[in-house]
C-alpha cells in the first residue's frame, strides 16, 4: 500500500494498468503514410503491371519466337530482329512515321502556342473559344477521319472547293503519292492542337504579370518580352507538349488506317500499322513483337534525348 501510494505520488502508472503494447514493424508500416500511399497507388500499379509492363515483357519473349498464333511457337532467337534489316516495308514505315512526327509535332506546337497566345490576350468569352477549339481533340479519331475523307474529295470536297475560290487547283489529297502524308498531317494537327493549347494556356496563366511590367519599364518590345519572359517560363509546358506529342506521333495508326490504309503504294504506311498488319493480318506474332520492341526503343531513345535537352532548355524557376 505504501509502495502504491509512493508510486502514485511519483506519477507512475498504476500496477493494474498495462502499458500500451509496443507496435511491431508491420503495425507501424500499416499506420504509416507510405502504406496509405501504396494502397491508393495499388489500382494504378496493378493496371500498369497487368496492362503495360506485362505486355512489354510478353512482347520481349514473343519477339524471340516464331509463332503464327495457332501452331505451337518455336524458338527463333534473334532471327526476328535480323529480319528487320532486310525488310524494306519496315524501313519505309519507319521513314513515314518519322516524317509524320517531325512535321506534325512542330506544326502542332506552333498552332497550339499561337492559339493560346491569341486566347490569352484578353479575348472576351475565352471559355467558349477554348471549348470550341478543344472540340477536335475531344472527338474520336475515327469520326474525324471519316469527315476529313469527305473534306479531301478531290473534285468537290470542301478543301479543294475553298482552294478553288482563291484560284488554286487542289491536289487529289488522299490518293496522291506526294500529298497523302501531308493530308494526314494536316488533319492530325487540326485534331490535336487543342491539347497543347490548353497546356499553354495554363502555362501562360502561371507567368507573373510583374515580370511583363518590369520588362515594359525596362523598355522591352512585345517580341522581346515574348522571347525573354514568355518562352523561358513556358518552357516546361513546351517540354511536356513536345514529349507527349512525339510519343503519340510515333504511335500514329488510326487515322492512317481509316483514311489511306497505308497507300497509295506504301506512302502512308506507319510503323504501328505495319506492326498490326504483321501480327494480326499476316499471323507473324514474333516478327510483330520484334518491330514493337524496336519502336519502343526508338521512342525511349528520343524521349531520353529530350530529357537530356531539358536540363539546358527548360526553366522551372522565375
Amino acid at each position: 500500500m505504501a509502495l502504491e501510494a509512493h508510486s502514485a505520488a511519483r506519477g507512475a502508472i498504476p500496477r493494474t494498468a498495462k502499458p500500451p503494447p509496443h507496435p511491431g514493424r508491420w503495425q507501424r508500416w500499416k499506420r504509416s503514410e507510405a502504406f496509405a500511399a501504396w494502397l491508393f497507388l495499388l489500382p494504378s500499379l496493378v493496371g500498369f503491371l497487368v496492362f503495360t509492363a506485362g505486355p512489354v515483357l510478353a512482347a520481349a519473349v514473343i519477339s524471340l519466337l516464331d509463332w503464327n498464333l495457332f501452331s505451337p511457337p518455336s524458338f527463333a532467337g534473334l532471327g526476328n530482329f535480323a529480319r528487320l534489316g532486310s525488310d524494306p516495308t519496315f524501313w519505309t514505315a519507319l521513314g513515314n512515321t518519322a516524317y509524320f512526327t517531325f512535321v506534325s509535332v512542330p506544326l502542332t506546337l506552333l498552332v497550339s502556342l499561337g492559339t493560346a497566345l491569341l486566347l490569352n490576350h484578353g479575348l472576351r468569352r475565352m471559355a467558349i473559344f477554348r471549348s470550341l477549339l478543344l472540340l477536335p481533340y475531344a472527338t474520336i479519331t475515327v469520326a474525324v477521319a471519316f469527315v476529313w475523307i469527305w473534306l479531301y474529295i478531290p473534285h468537290d470536297g470542301l478543301v479543294n472547293s475553298v482552294l478553288g475560290l482563291v484560284g488554286i487547283h487542289g491536289p487529289a489529297w488522299l490518293v496522291s503519292e506526294g500529298w497523302a502524308m501531308p493530308a494526314l498531317i494536316l488533319m492530325s494537327v487540326w485534331k490535336s492542337f487543342g491539347f497543347g493549347m490548353v497546356i499553354f494556356l495554363a502555362g501562360l496563366a502561371a507567368i507573373p504579370q510583374q515580370l511583363y511590367e518590369a520588362a515594359r519599364v525596362d523598355g522591352a518590345t512585345p517580341w522581346q518580352s515574348f522571347r525573354k519572359v514568355t518562352l523561358p517560363l513556358l518552357s516546361p509546358s513546351v517540354f511536356f507538349t513536345v514529349v507527349t506529342s512525339v510519343i503519340g506521333s510515333f504511335q500514329v495508326f488510326d487515322q492512317a488506317l481509316i483514311m489511306t490504309d497505308g497507300g497509295p503504294g506504301a506512302r502512308t504506311t506507319t510503323l504501328v500499322m505495319y506492326i498490326y498488319q504483321t501480327g494480326f493480318e499476316n499471323y507473324d506474332q514474333g516478327y510483330a513483337a520484334a518491330q514493337s520492341l524496336v519502336l519502343f526503343a526508338f521512342v525511349a531513345v528520343i524521349t531520353g534525348l529530350q530529357f537530356l535537352a531539358q536540363r539546358r532548355l527548360v526553366h522551372y524557376d522565375v
Binding site: 478531290p154 490518293v175 490504309d261 494480326f280 493480318e281
Partner: protein, 468 residues
C-alpha cells in the same frame, strides 16, 4: 510549418488523446464526420477487393453454359442482324437447345475470331469467308469434317454446289460446310441505258470485252455519267484476270503469275477504263471507295458485284437487273466465292456432337431458305435455291451459271493461298497506284512480282507443313 500551408483533409487529422507511436501528427483519427483514415482505407481496400473479385468471377464465368449452341458470324447492318436472329430462333426450334450467336462487324470479324480461337473462347461453330478457309485449315485452327460427314447418313453433301464444296476444302479434306455461293455478275442500270438509247444486254449471252468497253465509253460521254464501276482491288480485278485466262499465281501455286500476258492484259483492260477512257468514276480515296455507292447514285451504267448486293440494290431509285460477267479471251469466268460454317479444332467430346448438329442445322435447307428469302445471297444448297427469288428479273442466272446451264457463262473458284491475307495486302498496296495512273500496269506488276514469288514459296512451305 508555414501558416499558408493548406489545411490537411479532415480524415488525415490526428486523433486527439491517443498515443500513436511513430505516427505523430499523421496518426489516424476521426474526421468531424466520423470517418477515420483507417476506416476509409479498409473501405477502399474492401471495395477494391470486391471489384477485383467481381471482375475475376465475371471473367471466369463468361460464356454460356455447356450444351448451348454457340456460333459466330459477321453482321454489319440491322438487316443482317434480323436474318441471324431468325437463324437463332430456327436453331432453338429445331435443336431444342439455347442458341447464342456472337455477331461482329465484318471488318473486325477475322481478328476477333483469331483471338477467340487462340484463347479458346471461340464458339463451337464459326462462320468463315471462303478465302480464309485455307489460312485457318493449314494452321490447324479448324478441324476436318470428313469423319463427321461419313458417320452421318442423314447429311447429304451432294445437295451443295460443287463450287462451294471446293471452296470449303483444303488438301482434299472438307473443313467447312457452305451457306452461300455465287459468281460475280454485272449489274446494269436499265433506266440509264434506255435514256441513252441502248438496249439492255442479253441475260444469257455475256458481252464481249470489246463490246462492253465500247458501251462503257459511249455511256461516259456525258458529264458526270459513267459507264462502269468496280473497286480498285484484287477481289474485283481477279474476275477479269480469270476471264483473260490468267491467275494471280501459276498452276503449281509456287510463283506469281500476274506478269504473264493474260493477267497483264486483264489488268490493263480495267485500268484503261479508269485512267485512259475515263469510263469509271474517279477514285477519291482508297479506303471507302465504294462501287455500290457509285452505282446507287444512278449515273453509272454497269457495276460488277456479287448477288449478295441484290438486297442493297433493291433500294435503287431506278430500274436495274443483272447479266453474266463480260467474256474475255477465255470466256466469262468471274470469281465464284462463298462462305461456310466450320468447327474449331478445340471442340471435342459431347461438344463436338452438339457442334456438328448445330452446323448441320445452320446449313440445312430450312435455315438457308431463311437466308435466301431475306435476299442475302444465293444459298449454298440447291434445295434452298427456290427461296432466292427476283427481283431482279434475271436473278435466276446466278443458279444457271453455277449449274453450268448457260453455255457461254461460267465461273472460276476463287483461287487463294494459305497466306492470302498477305497476298491481298501486297496487291492492295501496289496495284491501286496503276488505277490512279501513278504508274503503268507493267511497272506496278513488275515491282511486286519478286515479293509475290516469295509469298508463293511461303505458301508452299505452309502446304508442306500442313501435309506433314
Amino acid at each position: 510549418m508555414s501558416s499558408t500551408q493548406p489545411a490537411r483533409p479532415a480524415w488525415l487529422s490526428p486523433r486527439p488523446g491517443r498515443h500513436s507511436p511513430g505516427l505523430g501528427r499523421h496518426s489516424p483519427g476521426p474526421s468531424p464526420a466520423g470517418l477515420s483514415r483507417r476506416a476509409l482505407l479498409r473501405g477502399g481496400a474492401a471495395a477494391l477487393g470486391a471489384v477485383a473479385a467481381g471482375g475475376a468471377l465475371g471473367g471466369c464465368s463468361a460464356g454460356p453454359p455447356p450444351g448451348t449452341a454457340t456460333w459466330s458470324m459477321w453482321s454489319s447492318s440491322p438487316q443482317e442482324q434480323a436474318v441471324w436472329d431468325d437463324f437463332g430462333r430456327y436453331v432453338e426450334r429445331r435443336m431444342k437447345v439455347r442458341s447464342v450467336s456472337t455477331l461482329t462487324p465484318s471488318e473486325g470479324y477475322p481478328t476477333k475470331l483469331d483471338l477467340q480461337l487462340v484463347s479458346g473462347t471461340a464458339s463451337i461453330v464459326t462462320a468463315l469467308n471462303g478465302w480464309l478457309i485455307p489460312t485457318y485449315a493449314s494452321r490447324g485452327a479448324h478441324r476436318p469434317l470428313d469423319d463427321l460427314i461419313a458417320d452421318d447418313p442423314d447429311f447429304d453433301l451432294s445437295d451443295f454446289y460443287p463450287a462451294i464444296r471446293s471452296i470449303s476444302s483444303f488438301g482434299h479434306k472438307t473443313y467447312a460446310i457452305g451457306f452461300d455461293v455465287a459468281p460475280t455478275v454485272l449489274y446494269y442500270n436499265r433506266t440509264l441505258l434506255e435514256k441513252n438509247g441502248i438496249d439492255p444486254p442479253s441475260p444469257t449471252e455475256p458481252m464481249s470485252w470489246e463490246h462492253f468497253s465500247e458501251l462503257a465509253v459511249e455511256l461516259s460521254r456525258k458529264p458526270d455519267q459513267y459507264g462502269f464501276t468496280c473497286a480498285p482491288a484484287i477481289d474485283d480485278l481477279v474476275s477479269w484476270i480469270y476471264s483473260a485466262g490468267g491467275n494471280v499465281m501459276n498452276e503449281a501455286q509456287d510463283a506469281g503469275a500476274l506478269h504473264e500476258p493474260e493477267a497483264l492484259e486483264a489488268i490493263g483492260f480495267v485500268v484503261d477504263l479508269f485512267v485512259k477512257k475515263k469510263a469509271a468514276p474517279p477514285i477519291s480515296n482508297l479506303v471507302t471507295e465504294d462501287a455500290l455507292a457509285n452505282f446507287l447514285q444512278g449515273n453509272v451504267a454497269f457495276m460488277q458485284n456479287g448477288p449478295w448486293q441484290v438486297v442493297n440494290v433493291r433500294k435503287a431509285p431506278f430500274e436495274w437487273d443483272i447479266v453474266p460477267f463480260p467474256a474475255g479471251p477465255a470466256g466469262s469466268r468471274p470469281r465464284v466465292s462463298g462462305s461456310s460454317f466450320a468447327i474449331p479444332s478445340g471442340v471435342g467430346g459431347d461438344e463436338l456432337k452438339l457442334a456438328w448438329r448445330l452446323l448441320k442445322t445452320l446449313t440445312s435447307t430450312g435455315a438457308l431458305n431463311i437466308y435466301a428469302r431475306a435476299g442475302r445471297n444465293n444459298p449454298a444448297r440447291r434445295s434452298a435455291g427456290s427461296a432466292f427469288t427476283p427481283p431482279p428479273r434475271n436473278l435466276g442466272i446466278v443458279q444457271d451459271i453455277l449449274a453450268g446451264r448457260l453455255p457461254h457463262a461460267g465461273g472460276h473458284p476463287f483461287d487463294v493461298t494459305t497466306n492470302w491475307n498477305r497476298v491481298r495486302q501486297l496487291l492492295g498496296q501496289d496495284l491501286p497506284r496503276a488505277f490512279l495512273g501513278q504508274v503503268s500496269v507493267a511497272d506496278a506488276v513488275g515491282g511486286l512480282t519478286t515479293r509475290l514469288d516469295v509469298l508463293m514459296r511461303q505458301h508452299q512451305d505452309a502446304l508442306r507443313q500442313a501435309g506433314g
